[in-house]
């Protein structure tokens, strides 16, 4: 019984480590809605994986990445405001995913666990996947840290100074897609953005450099996982929502600190 808790804890901490720095960029670049849209589209990835019986993680990463590239292309058209476009794609991709899964009669999917996570059913195999993908994601973030930061401050200035902006932006989307694929099991597709945004917002009040904010965000996320998982274990609340609620309470507490 205790190993269930251990796997859940390891999985949660592994995901929180990536959400820290990635969430910081999502907050700085105001991409919360963008992340939400990609997270919703991951349901389509799940449906596709079931339909074609391919690897679920791979399918989710590929679908998220494709949708991210589609979004960037559509945003350059500038006929619709960005948030309108995201609103359309966010909910229609969620709807496509749900409908596609309902149309597969042989497959019984636990929708609640997809939407809100099912941390207590994490297997050792899941934990290994999370740490493998998490290491790749963090490695990419560290490797691209300076260009990412330069681009976040001013994209055109970065371009003039020789930053390959398009490549770096695509890499950031790949990192988001990787993170979504591993966070799905922990908090579910509907709550992934919360895990990205809330710890980063909490960290802001304590950090005076971008690096500190990223690390503090990881710590805040890890603490939220610990508290949420404990609540889930002892009070029998759903794990994913409990973690997000813990993160929100930590954020509220951070507001007490004077700037």
């Amino acid at each position: 019984m205790i190993d269930v808790l251990l796997y859940a804890l390891l999985a949660g901490l592994g995901v929180a480590a990536v959400t820290g720095p990635l969430g910081a960029f999502i907050v700085w670049r105001r991409m919360a809605y963008f992340g939400d849209t990609l997270a919703h589209s991951s349901l389509l990835g799940v449906a596709l994986a079931l339909l074609l019986s391919v690897n679920l993680t791979l399918s989710v990463v590929v679908i998220c990445l494709l949708l991210a590239l589609l979004l960037v292309m559509l945003q350059q058209q500038q006929t619709l405001a960005s948030d309108t476009l995201l609103g359309i794609l966010s909910h229609s991709s969620l709807a496509i995913g749900l409908v596609a899964m309902a149309l597969m009669p042989d497959v019984r999917v636990d929708l609640m666990s997809l939407l809100f996570g099912d941390l207590l059913t994490v297997t050792p195999r899941d934990v290994i996947t999370i740490y493998l993908i998490g290491t790749i994601a963090i490695g990419l973030i560290i490797w691209l840290w300076k260009p990412l930061l330069t681009m976040t401050i001013h994209e055109e200035l970065a371009r003039v100074e020789g930053v390959p902006v398009t490549a770096v932006r695509t890499a950031l989307m790949l990192i988001i897609a990787l993170e979504i694929a591993i966070a799905m099991k922990v908090v579910g597709v509907l709550l992934i953005t919360a895990l990205l945004v809330i710890p980063a917002a909490t960290a802001r009040r304590f950090a005076n450099t971008p690096e500190k904010m990223a690390i503090y965000a990881s710590l805040a996320g890890s603490l939220a996982v610990l508290i949420g998982l404990s609540a889930s274990w002892f009070a029998d609340t759903p794990a994913g929502p409990s973690i997000v609620l813990s993160a929100a309470i930590l954020f509220a507490l951070s507001l007490l600190k004077r700037e």
Partner: protein, 255 residues
Amino acid sequence: MSNPLIQLTGVCKSFRGNSVLSGIDLTVMPGQIITLIGPNGAGKTTLVKLVLGLLKPDAGELYLASNLCIGYMPQKLLIDPTLPITLDRFLALSEPDKEKCQAALGEVGIDPSAGNQPLQSLSGGEMQRALLARAILRKPNLLVLDEPVQGVDVVGQESLYRLIGQLRDRLDCAVLMVSHDLHLVMSATDEVICLNQHICCHGHPDQVSSNPAFIELFGTKTAPYTHHHNHQHDLRGDVVTAGKAHQHDRSCGHD
């Protein structure tokens, strides 16, 4: 005579069928200060982006010298308040050597001790100087400044223009800058180009700058540029032909 840093010949650019620039000829020589003026929507920013390589021209030729190194000062820096970043760190993104960053701050007249301030807390004038410091860190031979004095009061504008002139002399670089103010143009400017989707007119800023009355009014480093228009624009910015004095060629896209 040395080679030009940048040469545009007959450059045109349009966005979704709307012509923004047509038949632009522009040469930037080493050490030259060029000021682009023109009303809103005249295509000043588009022209700057073409020079910076951020946009590709639809037609015409864009020549960039092989040794060209551009220091770019964007119009505005919109940094999200959630990004904790100091002025020092902002400069370090371009140049890791701390001493060089401190020297650049000194050159633009910012007390190097201000380097640990959050970037978002800088005043309008300080921000412009900070952006200028970042631009000169690259040791450019061309400074491209998009509305460098925007959001700065008249006294501050004068000192910023003086600073830009000094930097040009010290770094021996050319300056291409954009100004939306048709009347206040840096007096050290070698050439003023008046743009309204095409080059309306260009030349030295008027000799008026030496007139004592104007110096009193505008200060010594800013000079009004008087126009020698030979045509009129209607409200959309399209050219209304006024006689034969209007010298356009086919590339203009209008009669």
